[in-house]
Structure formats: C-alpha cells, structure tokens
C-alpha cells in the first residue's frame, strides 16, 4: 500500500463555541489519504464536507483534533516560514470559478501570485515562461495570459483556477466542488484534465462534491458525510455496489440516472436517523466491516453487517 500522505484524527470544527447557536460543522472525523489517490467526500449541503476541506488546509483553525501531513501536524504552532513551506505543498481549487479569481488582475498575475510568494522564479522572463507553460498544461493558450478573468467562460475559468493551484507544484490538492458550477459537457473536460494531471504529476486529491456519479468516476475511495460525521468510508466500487450505512443507501437511491427504464422502477429509500435506536450505552464508532470498508455503527449493527456481508 502507498504511504499515508495525510492523516486526519478526530478533527472537530465548531463555530460560535460556547454560544447558544453553536454549530458543530465537523464533529470528530478521522480518515487517511494515501499518496497518489483521490479521496472523494460526498454529502448534502451543510453536512460539513467543505468545512472539512477548509480546515485541513488551515483556512479555519480546528477546534480539536489533528491533521498530520507527511508526519507533521498542520495545526500545531508554526513559524511563518514553516507555514509557507506547508502552503506550497497543499493547494485548493474552489467551487465558484467566478468568485475565486480577482477580476482586477490579469491572468498572468493571478497564476504567478504563488510563484512570487514562494520565490520560485528569478526573473520576469522566467515568470512569464512558467505561466505560459501552466496555461498550456491546462489546455489554454499562452496568449490568454494578458487577459482578465471576465473574458473567459466558466470552464476556462476553472482551468485558470487549476493552473493557479498547480503553479507552486503542490503534492496535494483539495478540490471543493470544482465542477458543480459547470455545464455537463464542460464537466467532463475538467474531470478528465484533473485525472490526466494526477497521472502526470502524481498528485493526491481530496475531491469534495455532491454529484455522486462524478465522484465515483474520479475517486479511488469515497467518504460519506452526514451532519458533521463521517458515516461510511470505503473503496468507490464497494461503496456504490454494497452501501452499508442506511444514509448512504438513501443517498444512492436518490440519484437520478440517465436511463428512463431504471427511473421508472427506481425505489427511493428514506433515511431516518432515529431508525438506529441507539441505546445510551452503545458505542457508535467507525468499524471496519470488510477490509478497507468502514461504517459508523454500534456493536450490534456491526455484528449484523458482518453477518450479512459473509452470507452474500
């Protein structure tokens, strides 16, 4: 197995702590991300998937828990210099390609901003050359460097966002709903680009999305979140073919597929958190049902799931 690049241990992100309106956006989740893989994170809006991504990259300071990147705790006290080195390894691609690019900056300066901050280029000529290379990598023309963001379409802007993330040669990229704002035909282009870049540069992705069919396509493993908790985590194929947690089953049964015959016969499964009937002394934690497939469950449910998975 590849080495662990990122270890997330009992991460918590609470907002308005101690006030009446305290929100436990992320409430104690743990998972690992291995080098070179794509981990998909899915769930409904408000389940904390974006907050998880933002906390990992330290856009928020975690309330509790640890994010260990390559053996170093990200949230521990750090000098500016250490932080800078860390920032270079981890980059983010945002959801909204309209809001995430400064409309007053030229493409050249947007993409080169990271290069300047980390002192990766020595001369203006090298800077321009590097930006041109990056534009070509993401399928745009070098001539585009002198334009402003408003001159680009949504798909092209998302390519600019990807080029900016790649500029500092990161190892790990958090893609927060990178295709949600794009048209269907353009989504496929961007997803293919992300896949190609991963192969070329050996990147590791955390891919956050609510479009479950795209997530399955791009991810090696998938985590399902519900109300700030990770309820199921497993290899993409297994999770889709044998979902174990009732919430995952409900989520999967709600996806409309481009197949009228299937749609006519689709049965939607509802999910009621009360259906678990957890007793006060039940310990509800992540348990490994089959190798690599974790489910949030109580001891009782765990036994049941194990029994079912061996009989099937």
């Amino acid at each position: 197995m590849a080495k662990k690049l990122l270890e997330i241990k009992n991460l918590k992100q609470h907002f308005n702590v101690g006030k009446k309106n305290e929100v436990r956006a992320v409430d104690g989740i743990s998972f690992d991300i291995y080098q070179g893989e794509t981990l998909g994170l899915v769930g409904e809006s408000g389940c904390g998937k974006s907050t998880t991504g933002r906390t990992i990259i330290r856009l928020y300071d975690a309330t509790d828990g640890e994010v260990i990147y390559d053996g170093v705790n990200v949230h521990a006290k750090k000098s500016k210099k250490e932080l800078k080195a860390f920032n270079q390894k981890m980059q983010m691609i945002f959801q909204d390609p309209y809001a995430s690019l400064n409309p007053r900056m030229k493409v050249l300066d947007i993409i080169a901003e990271g290069l300047d901050i980390h002192g990766l280029v020595k001369s203006p000529a090298e800077r321009t050359k590097r930006v041109h290379e990056l534009l070509e990598t993401v399928g745009l023309n070098p001539e585009h460097a002198n334009r402003y963001p408003h001159e680009f379409s949504g798909g092209q802007r998302q390519r600019l966002g990807i080029a900016r993330a790649l500029a500092v040669e990161p190892e790990f990229i958090i893609a927060d709903e990178p295709i949600s704002a794009l048209d269907v035909s353009i989504q496929a282009q961007v997803v293919n680009l992300l896949k190609e870049l991963q192969e070329e540069k050996g990147l590791t992705y955390l891919f956050i999305a609510h479009d479950l069919s795209m997530v399955k396509y791009i991810s090696d493993r998938i985590g399902v979140m519900y109300f700030g908790k990770l309820v199921e985590l497993g290899p993409a194929e297994v999770l889709y073919s044998k979902p174990l947690h009732p919430y995952t089953q409900s989520l999967l049964s709600a996806i409309p597929l481009p197949d009228p015959n299937y749609e006519r016969n689709r049965v939607r499964i509802g999910y009621d958190p009360k259906s678990h009937n957890y007793r006060d002394d039940d310990e509800v934690i992540m348990r490994e049902v089959t190798p690599g497939h974790f489910v949030l469950c109580s001891e009782r449910e765990f036994e049941q799931m194990k029994k079912n998975s061996t009989t099937v």
Partner: protein, 354 residues
C-alpha cells in the same frame, strides 16, 4: 391529444452593446395536455429564454421578436396586450424558478404570498383564500400548514421553500406549469422528494409541464417527451425512450456519453471538445459541427432540416440524410441503442432494463 401550447418558428434576438445576440433561431414545439416536456441543453442554448418568451418576461427594451407565434388557447401570446398577459400569468400558465431563495419575497409571510394569486385571479374572499392556501400547503407536504402560514421565507429550508413556490404556482390550477431548473439548487435527496411531489400533483390536477434542466438523470425521471436544444435551436426531439435509447444527433450522443453512469468503469470520460457557439455570430451550418467529430462538409455550409426518425422523433443532423455515410455512434450510445426496438443496433429482447 389536446394541444395546450404551440410554439411556431420562434425567432428572437437581444440587442446588447456587443451587437445582436440571436438567442432563439427558429424553435418549434408543442405541449399536450397532461404531459411533461423536458427541454435540455447547456447554459446559453436558449432553453430559459424560450420559456421566458412564453411568459413574456423578457425585457422589452432589448428583446426583438423577429418571427413566430406562441399559440395558447387559440391566441398568440406574443400579440397579447400587457394587461391581458397579467391574466394569463399565474392563472393559466405559472412558473417555478431555479432559486427558491430569491423567488419568494423575504418581507412577506409565506401565507400571504400563496394567497396573492387566489385573491387576484380567483377573486376569493380573504377567508376562503386562507383556507385554500392551507390546503395547498398540506398538498405540497408541509407539516403544520396553519402555523407555517405566518412564517417568513428565511424560516424555511431550501426544499421547503421550493415546496412553497410550487404551492404558489399551483394555486390557480394552471393549464401549463413551467419549471425552470426547479431542483438544481437542491440536494439529491430533496431533489428526489420534489420530483416525486411534482409528478404526484401533475396526476391530481392534470396540468402540463415544461421542465427545463441540464441534468439528464432528472429528465429520464420526469419527462414524457424531450427536446434537446443547442445554439438557440432544437436539434432533436422525441419521446424519452427515443432520446435516451435511440439518439440520432451527435450533440445528444455527446451529452449522454459525457455523463458517467454509476456502473461505468472506462478510464476516460467522453468529453465534448470546445465550448458552445457564440450567438453574436452563430455558425452558418450545423451549430454543433465545430465540436463534432462526425461533422461533414455540408455541416459547415448548410443548416440541417429536421429529419424524421419516427412519428414522434425528429433530429436535425445531416447524418440522417439518405446520402450520408453510415457512422457508428460512440460505444456508450451503441450500448444504449441495443436495448431499443427499432434502432439499427437492436439485439432482441434479451437484456431489458436493469
């Protein structure tokens, strides 16, 4: 079957600083009683503009109707006066918009907003309108409708707000309901609930629906018939089975193959290259030709007419011309066609659905 609305040769342009945007370039379709017609296409393909033209919601200062008719109830909506149009909107034809966050008035209790069309169009007394509103709220599945009447939009979740919008739209039992991406802003589980609700209500009140979306999964779920729009034109239309299992236009092929199905395993996703055409200067021939690997010389020169595939299925592509070379669609499409009796790849009744 009874035709509810008929759009004939609709052509319209917007005048902008950059020039004339030819947003709709000859669109024809009709909607029958009780059916759902889905219009699919990318942003900028003209699907929303078409329906806004039906509702006459386009800015008059910059919109120019160049040609065509929209026949509803025997009259041409394009020639109807503003005053008469107000009697149509919300009563005969109503609309559900994409964003439930902005289509309700934040300063008004929701009860008042549901009562509005009832008071205006049906001339009910306040007490009657109130009772009818409560009925409507329970019809769309809102718990405790009476208490909820006094609450404001911000006190509801996105899915609940869309339910309220549907209640407002259905208040006067419209003959035609236009739903412009009604579930795009919602989560999948909520989306499934809203779609079920709409289908349920359609059965109850026998309204016809024009459903606009770019999500082919949703189309497969709700539609009886489908029209595929590209570059301001309808490039293919047919029953939902014909479009999904026997598509003929290369753009429809592209759309269907660029969506990963849950059981795809192929390494690379099919992507339509390039981006949609610029309607300031629309291409001369087939608007999709520049992005199509199936384009022929004639596609660059002459716009293809609608070729008949079956009585209900038409597609605007030169590939259907008797003299055109026989090409094979992408593999994923051939797979789909194998299931469809009447397509040239049909393999008997072996598989059936999943």
């Amino acid at each position: 079957m009874e035709k509810i609305i008929e759009v004939k040769d609709l052509e319209l342009s917007f005048h902008t600083f950059a020039g004339e945007v030819k947003a709709i370039r000859g669109v024809n379709f009709e909607v029958f009683k009780g059916e759902t017609l889905a219009i699919v296409g990318e942003s900028g393909s003209g699907k929303s503009v078409t329906t806004k033209a039906i509702m006459r919601l386009l800015p008059e200062s910059s919109t120019e109707f160049k040609n065509g008719q929209i026949l509803f109830d025997g009259k041409d909506l394009l020639k109807t006066s503003d005053k008469d149009m107000q009697k149509v909107r919300g009563k005969e034809i109503s609309m559900i918009f994409q964003d439930p966050m902005t289509s309700l008035n934040p300063t008004m209790p929701i009860g008042k907003q549901i009562m509005e069309p009832l008071l205006k169009h049906q001339k009910l007394s306040k007490e009657e309108a109130r009772r009818k509103s409560i009925e409507l709220l329970s019809l769309v599945g809102m718990p405790q409708p009476e208490q909820r009447m006094k609450q404001y939009p911000h006190q509801f979740s996105g899915g609940q707000r869309q339910r309220i919008v549907i209640a407002v739209a259905l208040a006067c039992n419209p003959k035609l309901l236009i739903a412009d991406e009604p579930t795009t802003a919602l989560d999948v589980t909520i989306q499934a609930q809203i779609l079920e609700l709409m289908k349920d209500l359609q059965k109850k009140i026998e309204t016809s629906i024009i459903f606009i979306t770019h999500d082919l999964g949703v189309v497969a779920n709700v539609a009886d018939r489908v029209a595929v729009m590209y570059g301001g034109q309808i490039v293919e239309f047919g029953t939902v089975d014909e479009i999904f299992y026997n598509p003929q236009h290369p753009y429809t092929w592209g759309l269907l193959s660029s969506m990963p199905s849950l059981d795809t395993t192929e390494e690379k996703l099919y992507a339509i290259p390039g981006s949609p055409p610029d309607l300031l200067d629309p291409p001369k021939g087939d608007a999709f030709a520049l992005r199509s690997e199936y384009a022929m010389k004639i596609d660059m020169e002459e716009k293809p007419p609608l070729f008949k595939v079956s009585d209900t299925h038409y597609a605007a592509t030169w590939l259907l011309h008797p003299d055109a070379p026989k090409v094979d669609p992408p593999a994923a499409i051939v797979e789909r066609m194998k299931k469809f009796p009447g397509s040239r790849y049909y393999e008997g009744s072996a598989g059936g659905g999943r």
